[in-house]
Each structure stands twice: as structure tokens, then as C-alpha cells.
């Protein structure tokens, strides 16, 4: 069996990639993908913890986190679609309507 610490370590790398992408990318869909990466790092941590502690709740947490991620994508894509229908772009750079 793979040592859980390797799984959690992979989680750290994926989290870092996701966070970096979420802050630097300008395309809304790619930002959404980066958020998914962070949520997958969360799943790896939960699974690693469940394997390490022998705690079956960890598996359940991971399953629920997947469901939350799916709901978030659905809502995100719907919001981006309404953005696209009005602004004809999904670039986060063009959002300058709301200013003081």
C-alpha cells in the first residue's frame, strides 16, 4: 500500500498548482478548473487521513467533497453562461462595469 504521507504530499503539490492558477489565470473556465484542483487536493488529504487513521468517516468526507465540487461546477458554469450572453466574453479582465 502507498504510504498516506505520499498521498498528502501529492495533495500539497496539487493545491499549490490550483491556488497559483486560480489567482493568475484570466479565463473564468480555467479558474474554475483550478478551483477543482484545490478540491481534489482536499479529497487526497481526506483519503490519506482515512487510510492513516483507519477512520471510515474520512472516506465519507471525500465523497461529500466530490458532490460539493460537482454542484459548484454546475452553478459556476451557469453563471459564466449568463456572463457570456451579456458580455460576449468569459475573460475576468473585462469585468470593469462595477466601479466606485
Amino acid at each position: 500500500m502507498i504510504d498516506p504521507s505520499w498521498v498528502a504530499g501529492l495533495g500539497v503539490i496539487i493545491f499549490a498548482i490550483g491556488l497559483w492558477g486560480a489567482f493568475t489565470r484570466k479565463n473564468a473556465i480555467i479558474v474554475l478548473m483550478c478551483i477543482e484542483l484545490i478540491l481534489n487536493a482536499v479529497n487526497l488529504n481526506f483519503v490519506a487521513g482515512a487510510a492513516h487513521f483507519g477512520d471510515e468517516l474520512g472516506w465519507m468526507y471525500a465523497a461529500f467533497a466530490i458532490a460539493i465540487a460537482a454542484a459548484e461546477v454546475a452553478i459556476g458554469l451557469a453563471i459564466f453562461l449568463s456572463l457570456y450572453s451579456k458580455h460576449a466574453t468569459i475573460s475576468l479582465d473585462g469585468l470593469e462595469l462595477l466601479k466606485n
Binding site: 493545491f15 454542484a71 452553478i75 451557469a78 453563471i79 456572463l83 466606485n100
Partner: protein, 582 residues
Amino acid sequence: MAAYDVLSIDGGLKLLPEIVLLAGILALFFITNLGDAKIRIPLTRLRIPALLGGNRFKWNSDPRIPGIVSVFTLIFAIGMLIQTLGDDCADIMKGFCSETTILTTTGKNPVHLLKLDSFSRLFELMFFLALLLVSAASLNRLQADSNPSNDDLEQLLDNRRQVDFYLLLLISGLGMTVVAMSMNLFVLFIGLELASLPIYVLVAFHKESKAGSEAGVKYFITGAISSAVGLYGMSLLYLWSGSLQLTVLEAAWASMDTPEALPLFGISLLLVGFGFKISSVPFHFVAPDAYSGASSPVAALLATASKTLGFIGLMRILMIVTLPETGETAVWMFAFGTLSVVTMTWGNLAALGSENPKRMLAYSSVAHAGYMMAALVAVAAWKSGSYTETNNNGLMAAELIIGAIIFHLFVLISFKIGAFMVISHLETEDDVTDMSSLHGLAKREPIIATSMFVFMLALAGVPPLAGFMSKFLMVTGIVQVASADVLVNNNVDLIPTILGMHWTFFLAIAIFINSAISLYYYLRIGVLMFFEESSTRLPLPKVSILRFVIFVCAIGTVFFGINSDWLVETVTNAASALFADS
């Protein structure tokens, strides 16, 4: 303290308000979809009515039906909530409290899931009240918002769209109650997501306007990143302690001799998730955009219920899990104190220069988050002080401060929602983009202008209104904690007394200075309403339900300022329930 299986009859009876909410969600879906559709029985010519689908009947195609269902569901849920309080508080007039019940999972080793006590029940009441005011005020909203000349009128009047709005509102309410009751960090997080995912959609609900979808995207992206980061912090805590039960985490934190990197990192990432909800400083920039793009009732929900969610999370994490033993300094105390001062100052300075009333209210809500964060820091200062060993007043001070935060969150529902409702009323006429909409309101609508002035004074914390009482309690609590060391030494000279005080005393000073700054822009609204000339003398369109909500909010603001005994008793019950051992 009774513990029930969450799926048993006894457990279910304790969750009656949530069951009512669930029934309301189903009713909203079914009632508005009843129609004359028929199903043909195979191989025959017989058609039987299916009742779902097809053309709707005349009575349920009324666009007001969803809103009315939502309002009655919430009133019924509040009634059920009071029904399930138990014998502890037979007389609710003496203060709202509840007997403590724990709901567990089914199985051999039951895990504690939800805790029903004075704390969670009070927050449920607050959420229901906020949602009730918002849904009542939205009853006329979608019709009133559109110009008769607008081609979209047909679409806006359509009750399918209204169903979406109230469905999202009620689902969000269900999530909020889960957050209030949770004993497990992951359950809390699921509740938080259940509450915030519908709110993302509600912010972007005005998809006809460019501003609506832009606000929705900004709010969604920031919210999703911060909640994902918060969840990652939670998973680190899980890796550290092997459980996400708040009680287990508390014990694990207390048994830690020197601060370890993993839990510290986990807690700080978790605070990112809650920091977004209360719109504290690194996340303050999204609040004004979201508030001005969303419709006013939704913005009111963001400023009250959504902020309350974040503070429940902060109280659970900071007050239960990471509050140190007496005499030790909480690791987060100094960082959080600095953050609170930056938050309140930034919010107030930005509000000073804001020309859009909705953005001004958004910045003012950032500032209010700062005040409440400062109060949280004072509780940690109470724990780190040395005087608590000699007298027992320390616990009283902590309860006073937490109670003051809950008090503030409670009364915010009256005057913050009230202020947004006045703007919502102005929007029935035209879009509100700058202060000129408020010009001369007193001559056009004396009662509404006076109510708005009352809300502004309450936000500024002017006696005798509700906002004064909450700020007074917070500052008293902070000063009591900060000065306790000095008072023990019986110092009477002014300068040494102030210098000898704990540094949290300066948080109280920061609150004072910021309140003084904020008076300017709150009073400016009053000046604009009473002394500026308006381009028109015509009254606003008659929207009686909106006027009623504004009126109720104004009465609540005045009432809880003058007669606060009941509320003080209530929040003290809630605060002691938070600190009670579970």
C-alpha cells in the same frame, strides 16, 4: 442533556423547523407546477389527469404564489421553532433559550452531528427572520423592478422565475440552519456550501443586466476560491487530529504544548473561508461589487444572514477550538486584532468616498465586520490575562462580549435590511446608482425618509437606537477585559492607567474613532434626504408590502434600542450555551 438518533422520531421532532422548511421547498415546487396535463393509459383511449405539467391552472399561474408560499413557510417555521424550545423556557417573554439536545448518527458508534441549544436556536431564529423580511419585501420586487416598456416584462412577471428565486432563498435557509447547529466541522462546511451556492445564483439573478452577471461572476469566483481554500485547511486539520469533531479538535489543540505547523496552517486556511463570508479585509473588495450588482433584497441577505454564517464559523473555530488555557496567549490574537482595525478603518474610509448608496452600505458592512472581529480578539485577551485566576468576572466578560456580537448580528437584521429595503423602494422608480436618488426624499415620502434616517443613525450607533446598544456592549466588554489588569492594581492616575492597560484597549479606541468617521457619511444621507431639492415632488410608486417591511424594520430598530432587556437576556443565554461543555 438528551441525545437522539437523527433519524428517529424523537430526533425528527426536534428538527421540526427544518422539516417545515423542506416541506415548503417541496410545496413551492409542486404548487407552481400543477397543471392540466393528462397521461394516456397504454393500449386504451383513456386519459387520466396527471396534475403535474401541461398548462397551469388560473389560480397557480399568479406570479405572487411562490412568494406567498415562501412567506407562510417561514412564518410556520418560526412557529415550530418556538414550539420545540422545550420546557426550559416556558415563558419566552423572559428571554429566548432552549434546552440542549444532541442529534447523533445512526449506528454502533454514534457520532455527534447537530447540537440544538440556546445558541443554535437563536441563530436559526435570526436566519428565519432575515429570510422572512427578504421574501416579504421581494413579493412585489420582480414586477416593480421592470419598466412597463421593457420587453422583458412578460418574462419577469412569469412565476417560473419567481419560483426559482424563492426556492433558492429557502434552500439557502436550510443550509444556514445546518451551520448554526453543527458539531462537526465537515457538517458545518456542508451547511455553509448549501447556504452559499444558492446565494451565488441569487447575486447573479438579474441576468438581463450586465451588472448582475458581472457581480455574480466576481462573487462566485472569490467565494469558490476562498471556500475551497477553507476546505483544504479543514482537510489539514483532519490529517493532524484524525477527526473533525469540534470537541476532538478542541482536546487535540489543548494538548499541544508548542504550536505545530500543520494545525496552525490548517486553522489559518480555514479562517480564509470564513473571512470571505464576513467580508473582512483581504476579501472586502468583492462585497461592494456584489451588493451593487445584486438586487437590494439579496444584498440585504448578504449583509446580514451571510455575515452571520461567517461569524458562527469564527466563533466555533476561534472560541471553541483554539481558545487557549487561561494565562496563555492565543496565536491568532495579534494578527486578528490588526486585521480587525484595518478592516474597520478601510471600510469606513472607502464608505466616505462612495457615491453609490449600495456601495456605501457595503463598505459600512465591512466596517461593522471589523468591530465584531475586534470584540472576538477581546475574548482571547481575557483568556491571556492573569487576573482571571483571582476572580470569576472573566467568564462574565467573555459572555458579555460574545453576547454583544450576537446582539449586533441580531439587530443588524432590523436596520441593515431596512436600509436596503428603502433603496429597493427607490429602485421601483429607477435604478439607484448615485446619491441623487435620495435627494429630497423627505418632501416626497416623509415616513420612508424618516425611517431611512433612523436606520442610518442606528448604523452609526447613536443612542437610543439598537445599533448604539450593541456597540456599547462590545466596547464595555473590551474595556472591561483590557482594564481588568489595571483595576486589580488599583491605579488611579490617568496616564499610567491607560499605559498599563492591555493593548486590546486600543481596539476600543479604534472603534470609537471609526464610529466618529462613520457618522459623517451616515448623516450625509440624512442631509441629502432632508435638505436637497429633488427633481420631482411626486411620491414613490405604491408598493404596500415594501412599505410595511420598512416600517417593521424601523419599529424593531427603535424597540430593541429602548427596550433591550429581552434581547440582552437572550444573547447572554446563547453566549453561555456556546461556552458550555458539550
